[in-house]
Subunit: 228 residues, 2 copies
């Protein structure tokens, strides 16, 4: 979907793999189709117009030999159950993995701030899972949500310097509202923060990295490397 | 082949693509198989043991719909003509593109230093092409070649801090021998230099980036973005 988000995921997958030689790494087949119709309008306007392109991608990966599929786009997870049923290849579910990581983050983590697209919020991808994990959630108000939309569009246009202060301000907004941690629940957002001190703030959770570590655990038959 | 080299190429491809939105980017299908047998011994020992895995990868890309294939591994270019004939999909040839860029670099560029694997040197991939472009070449002496081999292995083990001084010293060695420019003719080497002042030295040529720009010119129907 977003090419930079795909690239960021692949780099994190490599970094999370314990490896001394090429052969220690996972074999990866990647389908990066920037022409998938807009996932947000596909969900919010109920057109489902993104689904056929996602299905084609999942089938291509299966036919190329993929044993597991990771999809570093939160919004597209609206379609993950349909996709998995259609292709028969298990997905490593980014939102399940992120909520599990949040649930294990410690007893002082009760309220999770969600920075995501409107589509991810509308598709209710995080909210019921967080509730089942005993966690509350906070979403941005209208002004902060607009800011996040602008930040995501700026990353997609490779204007990271424009995106970064928007994401930093939205983080402050959610922490001020009482969030104990904030999930960067759109895979463009960790890219906006590259170079920011927030990258090492352990109250900021990066689902792209959580997904990378989960894929390594699932596929490499060993633990993922710690973040260094 | 080398996962970091593949990731580096994909990031450079995105950076070289003029884009405001996801849909402006190229659709990419990537086959990243770190289990391809060692290309250097495949050539130096004439076992050709890397070829079947390369052929499988090229076929997978073709069958997934690739219209062009880029292979960000110099040494594997030993097999590029055989691969292209077998799968029928045109390769964007990293070494042809790099030599063309060197040939257009200006009249003060006469002697090209080659930092590469022993396999790339043994396969004679650069030398005749440089001669046809009217350029001379220099290769490292035994000590510097060992150093480059260590640097490449260090990148593959994700030990970039160990690799960087080795590559910097090899660059100095080739400049001292009279090279006007040096080609980082192994795709692990630009990664070793990330963060080094040499990255912006216009006497250091990065074939990974040359390949990325060539793919954009060939596939995106427009010019590649300048380096910023």
């Amino acid at each position: 979907m977003g090419p930079l988000a795909t690239s960021d995921f692949y780099a994190k997958l490599i970094a999370r793999t314990p490896a001394e030689h090429d052969r220690d790494h996972l074999a990866v087949v990647m389908w990066a189709d920037p022409g998938v119709p807009d996932r947000v309008s596909s969900i919010v306007d109920e057109t489902d117009e993104a689904y056929p392109a996602l299905l084609h991608g999942a089938r291509t990966l299966r036919d190329a030999g993929a044993t597991h599929i990771a999809m570093p786009c939160h919004t597209a997870h609206h379609y993950v159950d349909r996709l998995q049923a259609a292709v028969g290849t298990p997905f490593v579910h980014m939102i399940d993995e992120t909520v599990a990581a949040l649930g294990n983050a410690g007893t002082d983590v009760r309220r999770v701030g969600l920075l995501s697209t409107r589509g991810t919020l509308a598709a209710n991808l995080y909210q019921p899972r967080l509730a089942r994990a005993g966690l509350e959630y906070l979403v941005p108000d209208h002004r902060l949500q607009e800011m996040i939309g602008n930040a995501i569009a700026s990353v997609k246009a490779n204007r990271l310097a424009r995106a970064r202060p928007l994401v930093e301000e939205a983080l402050v907004g959610l922490f001020d509202q009482g969030a104990d941690v904030v999930a960067l629940a759109c895979t463009e957002l960790p890219i906006a923060l590259s170079g920011s001190p927030r990258v090492t703030d352990d109250r900021v959770v990066d689902p792209t990295d959580v997904l990378a570590a989960a894929v390594v655990r699932r596929c490499a038959g060993g633990g993922a490397m710690p973040i260094t």
